[in-house]
Protein backbone atom coordinates (compact mmCIF):
# COMPACT_ATOMS: atom_id res chain seq x y z
CA UNK A 1 0.00 0.00 0.00
CA UNK A 2 2.81 2.39 0.95
CA UNK A 3 4.52 1.65 -2.39
CA UNK A 4 1.33 2.42 -4.31
CA UNK A 5 0.94 5.72 -2.46
CA UNK A 6 4.58 6.52 -3.26
CA UNK A 7 3.97 5.77 -6.92
CA UNK A 8 0.85 7.96 -6.97
CA UNK A 9 2.86 10.74 -5.33
CA UNK A 10 5.59 10.40 -7.98
CA UNK A 11 3.08 10.58 -10.82
CA UNK A 12 1.42 13.68 -9.34
CA UNK A 13 4.86 15.28 -8.86
CA UNK A 14 6.03 14.67 -12.42
CA UNK A 15 2.77 15.97 -13.87
CA UNK A 16 3.08 19.07 -11.69
CA UNK A 17 6.67 19.67 -12.81
CA UNK A 18 5.78 19.19 -16.48
CA UNK A 19 2.84 21.59 -16.05
CA UNK A 20 5.11 24.11 -14.33
CA UNK A 21 7.62 23.90 -17.20
CA UNK A 22 4.80 24.72 -19.61
CA UNK A 23 3.31 27.39 -17.34
CA UNK A 24 6.67 29.15 -17.12
CA UNK A 25 6.97 28.91 -20.90
CA UNK A 26 10.21 27.00 -20.76
CA UNK A 27 11.43 25.75 -24.09
CA UNK A 28 10.94 28.28 -26.83
CA UNK A 29 10.59 28.65 -30.56
CA UNK A 30 13.73 27.76 -32.48
CA UNK A 31 14.11 28.35 -36.20
CA UNK A 32 16.79 27.88 -38.82
CA UNK A 33 17.65 31.47 -39.67
CA UNK A 34 20.38 31.14 -42.28
CA UNK A 35 22.35 28.76 -44.47
CA UNK A 36 25.27 29.02 -42.06
CA UNK A 37 22.97 27.91 -39.26
CA UNK A 38 21.72 24.98 -41.36
CA UNK A 39 25.33 24.07 -42.13
CA UNK A 40 26.19 24.03 -38.41
CA UNK A 41 23.19 21.86 -37.66
CA UNK A 42 24.24 19.45 -40.41
CA UNK A 43 27.72 19.14 -38.91
CA UNK A 44 26.17 18.51 -35.51
CA UNK A 45 23.82 15.90 -36.94
CA UNK A 46 26.33 14.06 -39.05
CA UNK A 47 29.98 14.81 -38.36
CA UNK A 48 31.77 15.61 -41.62
CA UNK A 49 28.64 16.24 -43.70
CA UNK A 50 29.64 19.09 -46.00
CA UNK A 51 26.60 20.49 -47.80
CA UNK A 52 26.92 21.96 -51.27
CA UNK A 53 23.25 22.75 -51.61
CA UNK A 54 20.85 23.89 -48.90
CA UNK A 55 17.10 24.51 -48.88
CA UNK A 56 15.50 25.93 -45.77
CA UNK A 57 11.80 25.70 -45.06
CA UNK A 58 10.17 29.16 -45.26
CA UNK A 59 9.18 28.98 -41.59
CA UNK A 60 12.65 27.75 -40.61
CA UNK A 61 11.44 24.58 -38.93
CA UNK A 62 13.37 22.21 -41.20
CA UNK A 63 16.01 22.07 -43.90
CA UNK A 64 17.18 19.78 -46.67
CA UNK A 65 20.86 19.59 -47.46
CA UNK A 66 22.82 17.78 -50.17
CA UNK A 67 26.54 17.07 -50.05
CA UNK A 68 29.01 16.53 -52.89
CA UNK A 69 28.40 12.78 -52.77
CA UNK A 70 24.70 13.33 -53.48
CA UNK A 71 23.61 12.40 -50.00
CA UNK A 72 20.50 14.17 -48.73
CA UNK A 73 20.18 15.13 -45.08
CA UNK A 74 16.88 16.16 -43.55
CA UNK A 75 16.99 18.27 -40.39
CA UNK A 76 13.88 19.13 -38.50
CA UNK A 77 12.92 20.77 -35.26
CA UNK A 78 12.44 18.53 -32.26
CA UNK A 79 11.18 20.54 -29.30
CA UNK A 80 13.83 23.24 -28.95
CA UNK A 81 16.50 21.01 -30.42
CA UNK A 82 17.14 19.52 -33.85
CA UNK A 83 17.14 16.00 -35.16
CA UNK A 84 18.15 14.75 -38.57
CA UNK A 85 18.22 11.75 -40.84
CA UNK A 86 20.23 10.89 -43.88
CA UNK A 87 17.62 10.06 -46.50
CA UNK A 88 17.85 6.92 -48.55
CA UNK A 89 15.77 4.93 -50.95
CA UNK A 90 13.43 3.96 -48.13
CA UNK A 91 12.43 7.59 -47.67
CA UNK A 92 9.19 8.84 -49.15
CA UNK A 93 8.60 12.23 -50.66
CA UNK A 94 5.49 13.93 -51.99
CA UNK A 95 5.40 17.20 -53.88
CA UNK A 96 2.45 19.57 -53.74
CA UNK A 97 3.32 22.83 -55.50
CA UNK A 98 5.83 24.53 -53.16
CA UNK A 99 5.42 21.98 -50.42
CA UNK A 100 7.55 18.89 -50.14
CA UNK A 101 6.49 16.25 -47.62
CA UNK A 102 9.20 13.84 -46.56
CA UNK A 103 8.92 10.63 -44.60
CA UNK A 104 12.05 8.88 -43.40
CA UNK A 105 10.43 5.46 -43.15
CA UNK A 106 10.68 5.73 -39.37
CA UNK A 107 7.25 5.93 -37.81
CA UNK A 108 8.43 7.63 -34.63
CA UNK A 109 10.47 10.23 -36.50
CA UNK A 110 7.34 11.12 -38.47
CA UNK A 111 6.93 13.05 -41.68
CA UNK A 112 7.70 16.70 -42.23
CA UNK A 113 6.32 19.13 -44.79
CA UNK A 114 8.73 21.81 -45.96
CA UNK A 115 7.71 24.93 -47.81
CA UNK A 116 10.64 25.27 -50.17
CA UNK A 117 9.04 27.75 -52.59
CA UNK A 118 10.23 27.42 -56.17
CA UNK A 119 13.02 25.07 -55.14
CA UNK A 120 10.58 22.34 -54.12
CA UNK A 121 10.31 20.55 -57.52
CA UNK A 122 14.07 20.26 -58.00
CA UNK A 123 14.55 18.83 -54.50
CA UNK A 124 11.65 16.45 -55.07
CA UNK A 125 13.36 15.30 -58.23
CA UNK A 126 16.63 14.83 -56.36
CA UNK A 127 14.94 12.70 -53.75
CA UNK A 128 13.27 10.56 -56.39
CA UNK A 129 16.64 9.70 -57.83
CA UNK A 130 18.13 8.95 -54.49
CA UNK A 131 20.17 5.81 -54.47
CA UNK A 132 22.85 6.27 -51.86
CA UNK A 133 23.66 2.67 -51.11
CA UNK A 134 24.55 1.80 -47.54
CA UNK A 135 24.35 4.64 -45.05
CA UNK A 136 26.14 5.36 -41.87
CA UNK A 137 23.02 6.07 -39.88
CA UNK A 138 22.36 3.04 -37.75
CA UNK A 139 24.25 4.20 -34.70
CA UNK A 140 22.51 5.50 -31.60
CA UNK A 141 25.59 5.79 -29.52
CA UNK A 142 26.32 8.69 -27.19
Amino acid sequence: MAELLQLAGSIVSILFIAWLARFWRLGGDVRIHSEAHARDLAEETLCGFNPVDIAIDKAGIAALLRDDQGRHLLIRRHGVQWAGRLLDRHSESRLDQNFLTIGTGEKTFGTITLNLGEQAPSWASGLRHLNNGPHKTGNTHA
Binding site: I17, A21, W24, C47, W82, G84, T140
Partner: protein, 298 residues
Protein backbone atom coordinates in the same frame (compact mmCIF):
# COMPACT_ATOMS: atom_id res chain seq x y z
CA UNK B 1 22.59 -6.23 11.09
CA UNK B 2 21.83 -2.57 11.80
CA UNK B 3 18.50 -1.04 10.82
CA UNK B 4 19.18 0.95 7.64
CA UNK B 5 16.96 3.68 6.22
CA UNK B 6 16.36 4.08 2.48
CA UNK B 7 18.36 7.17 1.45
CA UNK B 8 16.58 7.69 -1.87
CA UNK B 9 13.18 8.01 -0.14
CA UNK B 10 14.53 11.01 1.75
CA UNK B 11 16.27 12.44 -1.31
CA UNK B 12 13.23 12.48 -3.63
CA UNK B 13 11.63 15.65 -2.13
CA UNK B 14 15.02 17.37 -2.48
CA UNK B 15 15.21 16.21 -6.13
CA UNK B 16 11.84 17.81 -6.83
CA UNK B 17 12.74 21.07 -5.09
CA UNK B 18 16.08 21.27 -6.92
CA UNK B 19 14.45 20.61 -10.30
CA UNK B 20 11.99 23.44 -9.65
CA UNK B 21 14.87 25.69 -8.55
CA UNK B 22 16.78 24.88 -11.74
CA UNK B 23 13.66 25.56 -13.81
CA UNK B 24 13.43 28.97 -12.14
CA UNK B 25 17.05 29.58 -13.06
CA UNK B 26 16.30 28.52 -16.66
CA UNK B 27 13.25 30.76 -16.75
CA UNK B 28 15.33 33.83 -16.06
CA UNK B 29 18.55 32.87 -17.90
CA UNK B 30 17.91 30.31 -20.62
CA UNK B 31 14.36 28.95 -21.10
CA UNK B 32 15.60 26.55 -23.80
CA UNK B 33 17.44 24.49 -21.17
CA UNK B 34 14.11 22.84 -20.39
CA UNK B 35 11.49 21.49 -22.75
CA UNK B 36 8.20 20.48 -21.08
CA UNK B 37 7.71 17.31 -23.16
CA UNK B 38 11.31 16.25 -22.68
CA UNK B 39 11.00 16.82 -18.93
CA UNK B 40 7.83 14.76 -18.79
CA UNK B 41 9.49 11.91 -20.70
CA UNK B 42 12.55 11.99 -18.43
CA UNK B 43 10.51 11.97 -15.24
CA UNK B 44 8.21 9.25 -16.54
CA UNK B 45 11.29 7.16 -17.31
CA UNK B 46 12.43 7.77 -13.74
CA UNK B 47 9.13 6.68 -12.25
CA UNK B 48 8.97 3.61 -14.47
CA UNK B 49 12.50 2.74 -13.48
CA UNK B 50 11.51 2.80 -9.81
CA UNK B 51 8.62 0.44 -10.54
CA UNK B 52 10.89 -1.89 -12.53
CA UNK B 53 13.39 -1.81 -9.68
CA UNK B 54 10.69 -2.66 -7.12
CA UNK B 55 9.54 -5.60 -9.23
CA UNK B 56 12.97 -7.12 -9.73
CA UNK B 57 14.90 -5.82 -6.71
CA UNK B 58 14.07 -8.76 -4.46
CA UNK B 59 15.50 -11.20 -6.98
CA UNK B 60 18.76 -9.28 -7.31
CA UNK B 61 18.99 -8.94 -3.53
CA UNK B 62 18.46 -12.70 -3.12
CA UNK B 63 21.27 -13.37 -5.57
CA UNK B 64 23.53 -11.00 -3.64
CA UNK B 65 22.57 -12.74 -0.39
CA UNK B 66 23.51 -16.08 -1.90
CA UNK B 67 26.89 -14.65 -2.83
CA UNK B 68 27.26 -13.22 0.66
CA UNK B 69 26.59 -16.60 2.21
CA UNK B 70 29.54 -17.92 0.20
CA UNK B 71 31.74 -14.90 1.00
CA UNK B 72 35.50 -14.95 1.09
CA UNK B 73 35.95 -12.69 4.13
CA UNK B 74 33.95 -11.84 7.24
CA UNK B 75 33.98 -8.07 7.00
CA UNK B 76 30.83 -7.51 9.01
CA UNK B 77 29.69 -4.02 9.98
CA UNK B 78 32.97 -2.49 11.18
CA UNK B 79 33.20 1.29 10.60
CA UNK B 80 35.90 1.12 7.92
CA UNK B 81 33.83 -1.25 5.83
CA UNK B 82 31.42 1.58 4.93
CA UNK B 83 33.85 3.96 3.21
CA UNK B 84 35.71 1.03 1.68
CA UNK B 85 32.47 -0.40 0.33
CA UNK B 86 31.49 3.02 -1.04
CA UNK B 87 34.79 3.40 -2.92
CA UNK B 88 34.79 -0.19 -4.26
CA UNK B 89 31.15 0.11 -5.29
CA UNK B 90 32.03 3.29 -7.17
CA UNK B 91 34.85 1.45 -8.91
CA UNK B 92 32.40 -1.32 -9.84
CA UNK B 93 30.03 1.38 -11.08
CA UNK B 94 32.77 2.78 -13.31
CA UNK B 95 33.21 -0.59 -15.04
CA UNK B 96 29.48 -1.24 -15.23
CA UNK B 97 29.01 2.18 -16.80
CA UNK B 98 31.93 1.78 -19.18
CA UNK B 99 30.58 -1.57 -20.32
CA UNK B 100 27.16 0.05 -20.59
CA UNK B 101 28.61 2.24 -23.33
CA UNK B 102 30.91 -0.25 -25.01
CA UNK B 103 28.75 -3.38 -25.25
CA UNK B 104 25.53 -2.98 -27.17
CA UNK B 105 23.58 -5.40 -24.96
CA UNK B 106 24.19 -3.19 -21.94
CA UNK B 107 23.89 0.00 -24.00
CA UNK B 108 20.35 -1.00 -25.01
CA UNK B 109 19.39 -0.50 -21.38
CA UNK B 110 21.60 2.48 -20.56
CA UNK B 111 20.80 4.48 -23.71
CA UNK B 112 17.58 5.63 -22.01
CA UNK B 113 19.63 7.86 -19.74
CA UNK B 114 21.32 9.52 -22.71
CA UNK B 115 18.53 9.99 -25.20
CA UNK B 116 17.47 13.44 -24.02
CA UNK B 117 18.95 16.33 -25.98
CA UNK B 118 18.75 18.39 -22.81
CA UNK B 119 21.07 18.30 -19.85
CA UNK B 120 19.32 19.32 -16.69
CA UNK B 121 18.36 17.80 -13.35
CA UNK B 122 15.37 16.01 -14.88
CA UNK B 123 17.85 14.15 -17.12
CA UNK B 124 19.38 12.65 -13.97
CA UNK B 125 16.11 10.87 -13.26
CA UNK B 126 15.87 9.55 -16.81
CA UNK B 127 16.69 5.97 -15.85
CA UNK B 128 16.28 2.63 -17.51
CA UNK B 129 13.37 0.22 -17.20
CA UNK B 130 15.33 -2.69 -18.58
CA UNK B 131 18.38 -2.88 -16.34
CA UNK B 132 17.29 -6.26 -15.02
CA UNK B 133 16.85 -7.63 -18.53
CA UNK B 134 20.33 -6.41 -19.43
CA UNK B 135 21.73 -8.06 -16.26
CA UNK B 136 23.55 -4.83 -15.45
CA UNK B 137 23.65 -5.77 -11.75
CA UNK B 138 26.35 -8.39 -12.32
CA UNK B 139 29.02 -5.72 -12.02
CA UNK B 140 28.12 -4.52 -8.56
CA UNK B 141 26.87 -7.50 -6.57
CA UNK B 142 30.16 -9.50 -6.62
CA UNK B 143 31.25 -7.24 -3.74
CA UNK B 144 28.93 -9.44 -1.65
CA UNK B 145 31.17 -12.37 -2.53
CA UNK B 146 34.12 -10.48 -1.06
CA UNK B 147 32.20 -10.04 2.18
CA UNK B 148 30.22 -6.80 2.05
CA UNK B 149 26.65 -7.34 3.20
CA UNK B 150 24.09 -6.74 0.39
CA UNK B 151 22.24 -4.27 2.63
CA UNK B 152 25.46 -2.26 2.88
CA UNK B 153 25.86 -2.44 -0.91
CA UNK B 154 22.31 -1.21 -1.37
CA UNK B 155 22.92 1.62 1.09
CA UNK B 156 26.16 2.93 -0.43
CA UNK B 157 24.74 2.41 -3.94
CA UNK B 158 21.85 4.70 -3.01
CA UNK B 159 24.28 7.43 -1.92
CA UNK B 160 26.16 6.97 -5.18
CA UNK B 161 22.91 7.52 -7.07
CA UNK B 162 22.04 10.58 -4.99
CA UNK B 163 25.49 12.07 -5.61
CA UNK B 164 25.02 11.70 -9.34
CA UNK B 165 21.78 13.67 -9.34
CA UNK B 166 23.17 17.16 -8.83
CA UNK B 167 25.93 16.88 -11.47
CA UNK B 168 23.32 16.83 -14.26
CA UNK B 169 23.18 20.57 -14.70
CA UNK B 170 24.45 23.41 -16.86
CA UNK B 171 23.76 25.88 -14.07
CA UNK B 172 27.12 25.15 -12.44
CA UNK B 173 30.42 25.90 -14.17
CA UNK B 174 33.59 24.48 -12.68
CA UNK B 175 34.76 23.90 -9.12
CA UNK B 176 38.24 24.55 -7.66
CA UNK B 177 40.91 22.42 -9.33
CA UNK B 178 41.46 20.05 -6.41
CA UNK B 179 37.74 19.18 -6.37
CA UNK B 180 37.57 18.74 -10.15
CA UNK B 181 40.62 16.49 -9.92
CA UNK B 182 39.07 13.99 -7.53
CA UNK B 183 35.32 14.25 -7.81
CA UNK B 184 32.88 13.82 -10.66
CA UNK B 185 31.39 17.25 -11.29
CA UNK B 186 28.83 18.89 -13.59
CA UNK B 187 31.68 19.82 -15.95
CA UNK B 188 33.02 16.26 -16.19
CA UNK B 189 29.58 14.77 -16.58
CA UNK B 190 28.54 17.24 -19.29
CA UNK B 191 31.41 15.77 -21.29
CA UNK B 192 30.00 12.31 -20.67
CA UNK B 193 26.57 13.27 -22.03
CA UNK B 194 27.96 15.10 -25.06
CA UNK B 195 27.79 13.87 -28.64
CA UNK B 196 30.63 16.08 -29.85
CA UNK B 197 33.15 13.66 -31.39
CA UNK B 198 35.93 14.72 -29.00
CA UNK B 199 33.76 13.74 -26.03
CA UNK B 200 32.24 10.44 -27.16
CA UNK B 201 32.67 7.62 -24.63
CA UNK B 202 34.51 9.63 -22.01
CA UNK B 203 34.16 10.26 -18.26
CA UNK B 204 32.32 7.18 -17.05
CA UNK B 205 32.79 7.98 -13.36
CA UNK B 206 30.01 7.92 -10.82
CA UNK B 207 31.38 9.78 -7.79
CA UNK B 208 35.18 9.79 -8.18
CA UNK B 209 36.58 11.00 -11.50
CA UNK B 210 39.91 9.44 -10.54
CA UNK B 211 38.80 6.16 -12.16
CA UNK B 212 38.70 7.84 -15.57
CA UNK B 213 42.09 9.40 -14.94
CA UNK B 214 43.47 6.00 -13.92
CA UNK B 215 41.99 4.00 -16.79
CA UNK B 216 42.58 6.55 -19.58
CA UNK B 217 39.03 7.63 -20.30
CA UNK B 218 39.15 11.15 -18.92
CA UNK B 219 38.55 14.23 -21.07
CA UNK B 220 38.37 17.79 -19.80
CA UNK B 221 35.50 20.07 -20.83
CA UNK B 222 36.66 22.65 -23.38
CA UNK B 223 35.07 26.03 -22.70
CA UNK B 224 35.27 27.17 -26.33
CA UNK B 225 33.19 24.31 -27.75
CA UNK B 226 29.44 24.26 -27.38
CA UNK B 227 28.24 20.92 -26.08
CA UNK B 228 25.51 19.00 -27.86
CA UNK B 229 23.69 16.43 -25.78
CA UNK B 230 21.91 13.20 -26.52
CA UNK B 231 22.88 10.32 -28.75
CA UNK B 232 24.63 10.30 -32.11
CA UNK B 233 21.40 9.49 -33.90
CA UNK B 234 18.88 11.59 -31.99
CA UNK B 235 15.52 9.94 -31.41
CA UNK B 236 13.49 12.86 -32.75
CA UNK B 237 10.50 11.84 -30.64
CA UNK B 238 9.26 12.21 -27.07
CA UNK B 239 7.44 8.86 -27.29
CA UNK B 240 8.01 7.20 -23.92
CA UNK B 241 7.87 3.57 -25.01
CA UNK B 242 10.12 4.17 -28.00
CA UNK B 243 12.58 5.92 -25.69
CA UNK B 244 12.63 2.82 -23.49
CA UNK B 245 12.80 0.09 -26.10
CA UNK B 246 14.23 1.54 -29.33
CA UNK B 247 17.69 0.01 -28.99
CA UNK B 248 16.26 -3.37 -28.01
CA UNK B 249 14.13 -3.22 -31.15
CA UNK B 250 17.27 -2.31 -33.13
CA UNK B 251 19.12 -5.31 -31.69
CA UNK B 252 16.24 -7.62 -32.49
CA UNK B 253 16.10 -6.40 -36.09
CA UNK B 254 19.85 -6.81 -36.51
CA UNK B 255 19.80 -10.29 -35.00
CA UNK B 256 17.02 -11.22 -37.36
CA UNK B 257 18.69 -9.99 -40.52
CA UNK B 258 22.41 -10.55 -39.87
CA UNK B 259 24.27 -13.61 -41.17
CA UNK B 260 24.62 -16.32 -38.50
CA UNK B 261 28.32 -15.80 -37.98
CA UNK B 262 27.76 -12.12 -37.10
CA UNK B 263 24.69 -12.38 -34.89
CA UNK B 264 26.59 -12.57 -31.60
CA UNK B 265 28.64 -9.52 -32.52
CA UNK B 266 25.48 -7.42 -32.67
CA UNK B 267 25.04 -8.20 -28.97
CA UNK B 268 28.55 -7.94 -27.64
CA UNK B 269 30.34 -5.47 -29.90
CA UNK B 270 30.24 -1.72 -29.35
CA UNK B 271 27.14 0.25 -30.38
CA UNK B 272 27.32 1.28 -34.02
CA UNK B 273 29.29 -1.79 -35.05
CA UNK B 274 27.97 -3.54 -38.16
CA UNK B 275 29.26 -6.54 -40.07
CA UNK B 276 29.18 -4.67 -43.39
CA UNK B 277 30.72 -1.44 -42.13
CA UNK B 278 27.57 0.51 -42.95
CA UNK B 279 27.45 2.19 -39.55
CA UNK B 280 29.84 4.03 -37.33
CA UNK B 281 31.07 3.40 -33.82
CA UNK B 282 32.12 6.27 -31.58
CA UNK B 283 35.78 5.43 -32.27
CA UNK B 284 35.18 5.73 -36.01
CA UNK B 285 33.39 9.06 -35.63
CA UNK B 286 36.17 10.45 -33.46
CA UNK B 287 38.85 9.23 -35.89
CA UNK B 288 37.06 10.91 -38.80
CA UNK B 289 36.68 14.10 -36.81
CA UNK B 290 40.36 14.08 -35.82
CA UNK B 291 41.34 13.57 -39.44
CA UNK B 292 39.24 16.58 -40.44
CA UNK B 293 40.82 18.68 -37.67
CA UNK B 294 44.32 17.74 -38.85
CA UNK B 295 43.41 18.54 -42.44
CA UNK B 296 42.15 21.96 -41.34
CA UNK B 297 45.35 22.61 -39.42
CA UNK B 298 47.59 21.77 -42.44
Amino acid sequence: MPELFRPVDYAVPAFIILIIAEMLWARSRAPEKYEPRDTLTSLALGTGSTVAGALTGALVFSLAMWMYENRLFDIGWVWWAWPLCFVLDDLAYYWAHRTGHRVRWFWASHVNHHSSQHYNLSTALRQTWTGFLAVSFIFRIPLALIGFHPAMLLFVGAFNLIYQFWIHTEAIGKFPRWFEYVMNTPSHHRVHHATNPRYLDRNYAGVFIIWDRMFGTFTEEVDSEKIRYGIVRQLGTFNLLWSVFHEWVGIFKDLWSAPWRHKLSYLVREPGWSHDGSRETSDMIRARWLEAQEAKAD
